[in-house]
């Protein structure tokens, strides 16, 4: 249905770069799970294992000045948008050196300097802000695009529909990236959404939409590129549907009692975006291990950095309420 044509493919070198980023996200997320189980991380944590190609494919297609709003499952988006793992891990440990200086945590990772307007822990809550930011870009005639990430679960909340409607009505430069991992927390798509093709939701607003294999980073990158160009050229917003899989629980520690036996194992065999890209690139074991070592070292260093970080003073809680 999409009139937005995919264009521009990633070079072999770019794909190798994507691979390193996806692997870094994977190792970061695994470390988060491990440190949570060790009792070191407070709060609610949601990892995006299985959804790495979405984050990297979209964020690598962004241009300088583009902005994103993320979701409660934000580590991957934040890493892909350029925040150093040290700053994210420090935030998860509640340290001043964290990307939100200890005020946010996993569900509220911000990095405004790098165009990350924050992870949002209210499902769908970030979309209207992206419409507003895109409206500001339009007002100022700036060639920038606002990108909102959200999941299939969010497509059932009014906020998302109001945002899509207004974005299309005003033709603001925005891209709405729906990561359809087929689960709204513990509720399967069959119990929360009456259609299978979620682009129909965008079609209802007359919005251009694309439906893409979210486990194929090259596909995602090309589609995101096209969607961003479309928005940037003033042709209106785009709904970019990425079909993806959550190869883990809703939250870290989720026993997933609700999930069919063997589903995750099977998906890990068939739908792991890291494995897919590794095969696509034909990486040798040696090449893989080198990239893996690099990722693990970065992640280990981020834990060290975070543990050596500075605790905020309790009374710092009184700061930043008002500008």
């Amino acid at each position: 249905m999409a009139k937005v044509e995919k264009k521009g493919s990633a070079s072999e070198e770019q794909l190798r770069e994507f691979f390193r980023e996806m692997l870094l996200i994977r190792r970061f997320e695994e470390k988060v799970e491990e440190r949570f189980r060790a009792g070191e991380l407070p709060g609610f944590l949601h990892v995006a294992i299985g959804q790495e190609a979405c984050a990297v494919g979209v964020c690598r297609a962004l241009e300088e000045g583009d902005i994103i709003a993320s979701t409660h499952r934000a580590h991957g988006h934040t890493l892909a948008k350029g925040t150093h793992p040290n700053e994210i891990m420090a935030e998860l440990y509640g340290k001043i050196e964290g990307c939100s200086h200890g005020y946010g945590g996993s569900m509220h990772l911000y990095d405004v300097e790098r165009g990350n307007l924050g992870a949002n822990a209210v499902v769908g809550g970030g979309l209207p802000s992206i419409v507003g930011a895109a409206l500001a870009f339009k007002f100022r005639d700036e060639p920038r695009v606002g990108v909102a990430f959200f999941g299939d679960g969010a497509t059932n909340i009014g906020t998302v529909h109001e945002a899509l409607n207004l974005a299309q009505l005003w033709k603001v430069p925005a891209v709405f990236v729906c990561e359809n991992n087929h689960w709204a927390e513990s509720t399967p798509a069959s119990q929360h959404v009456p259609i299978t093709d979620l682009t129909k939701r965008a079609a209802a607003y007359g919005m251009e939409a694309m439906r893409i294999d979210g486990q194929d980073v090259e596909e995602v990158y090309q589609a995101a590129h096209a969607a961003l160009d479309h928005a940037r050229e003033g042709r209106g917003p785009v709904f970019l549907l990425l079909e993806t899989y959550r190869l883990t629980g809703h939250y870290v520690g989720d026993p997933q009692v609700y999930r069919p036996k063997g589903e995750v194992e099977e998906l890990r065999q068939t739908q792991d975006p890291v494995t897919k890209l590794r095969e696509r690139l034909g990486l040798t074991d040696e090449e893989f291990e080198e990239a893996d070592r690099e990722a693990r070292e970065l992640v280990e260093a981020s834990v060290e950095f975070a543990k050596n970080g500075t605790d905020p003073k309790p009374e710092d809680a009184l700061k930043n309420v008002y500008a």
Binding site: G98, S100, H101, G102, Y103, G104, H108, Y110, D111, V112, E113, L117, G118, N120, V122, G125, L127, P128, S129, I130, V131, G132, A133, A134, L135, A136, F137, F139, G146, G158, T159, E162, A163, N165, L166, L169, K319, N320, V321, Y322, A323
Partner: protein, 337 residues
């Protein structure tokens, strides 16, 4: 209204209605500053459901005077997003009852982005809204919900009751770097007052003493400021001298002016149109008893609406919300102690 100031060369100062004063502040800000724009339901051709923005479409065009769908979440949320990019949007929510629809964006987003980001963001958004009883619109178009929002750290809440106050405070709201909700009361739109020839910003967090008195302080907001002034005039006939203080800003609250007034009069009445129970007046009473306990000669009296939704039938509506005689009764109650 008090206000006998004269302009230069003794010329009388201009007089504006409350409605015109809102429009004037918006228009002046938009003339001065490309970053200011307004959006809301029916605000363009129609000029707003209360006529506040009439004529502004002609002057500023449809990009900066933006009609929106009936879509409060998107409307407020879009304002938040534009504000975080450094614009200064003024969003009109047609009836304050509909703030409930946008509450998620106001409470979880606007109020918290700065905090959750550890100070990286500012949200210079102004939300104007209006409401109140008096026209019998029934339970979904006549509430006073300001107390909901004063309870949210990160929001500022203004409730100006006169033309000069709304003009100066709206200006300050637009240029404040925080999300500000400005409540207007529907029955005040036609009320006129002399205003400064040049728009003078009124600092947020500064109360206005409308009338000085010796025997009792009435802290009143919105429509009740005017009811309190009527009650004060009536009380004076009976020899009771009433000081009327309008906080104008509910969050932050000018506690000092209120407490100093009570230390002088030793008695306090709090009056608002919203329901008394758990209302803004309860907070004022708490502030007064805590900071002026030794000065109080009587319990703080509260005047507000009865604990019901706002009914339709005019006789019931009038019964439920407070008027000057309710304020007068409360004054007499404190003086009688």
């Amino acid at each position: 209204m008090p206000g006998t100031r004269r302009g230069q060369k003794g010329r009388p100062l201009p007089e504006l209605s409350y409605r015109e004063a809102v429009r004037d502040a918006l228009s002046q800000a938009m003339r001065k500053d490309e970053d200011v724009f307004i959006m809301g339901e029916d605000i363009a051709e129609m000029g707003g459901s209360m006529g506040v923005t009439q004529g502004m479409l002609d002057e500023f065009g449809p990009e900066r005077v933006r009609n929106t769908p009936i879509s409060e979440i998107a409307l407020v949320g879009t304002g938040i997003g534009a504000a975080m990019q450094g614009m200064r949007p003024v969003v009109e929510v047609m009836y304050e009852d509909f703030l409930t629809l946008a509450a998620e964006q106001l409470v979880n987003q606007a109020a918290k982005h700065r905090y959750m980001s550890g100070g990286q963001l500012k949200v210079p958004l102004t939300v104007r809204t209006q409401g109140g009883a008096g026209w019998s619109p029934g339970a979904q178009h006549a509430q006073q919900l300001e107390a909901w929002f004063v309870h949210i750290p990160g929001l500022k809440v203004l409730f100006p009751s006169t033309a000069s106050d709304v003009r100066g405070l709206l200006w300050s709201a637009i240029y404040d770097d925080n999300p500000v909700i400005l409540f207007e009361h529907r029955t005040l739109y036609g009320l006129k007052e002399e205003v400064p020839a040049e728009l003078e910003p009124i600092p947020i967090g500064k109360a206005r003493v409308h009338r000085e008195g010796e025997d009792v302080t009435v802290v009143a907001t919105g429509r009740l400021v005017h009811e309190a002034l009527s009650a004060a005039a009536e009380a004076e006939k009976g020899g009771v001298s009433v000081e009327v203080v309008d906080p104008r800003t509910l969050q932050p609250l000018d506690e000092e002016t209120i407490v100093e007034s009570v230390k002088k009069t030793n008695r306090c009445v709090v009056a608002h149109e919203a329901v008394t129970r758990m209302g803004f007046g309860a907070e004022v009473a708490a502030v007064v008893q805590h900071q002026a306990f030794d000065w109080l000669d009587a319990p703080v009296e509260r005047v507000g609406a009865k604990f019901t939704p706002i009914p339709f039938a005019p006789v019931m509506e009038e019964f439920v919300v407070p008027h000057a005689d309710d304020v007068l009764e409360a004054i007499q109650q404190t003086v009688g102690r």
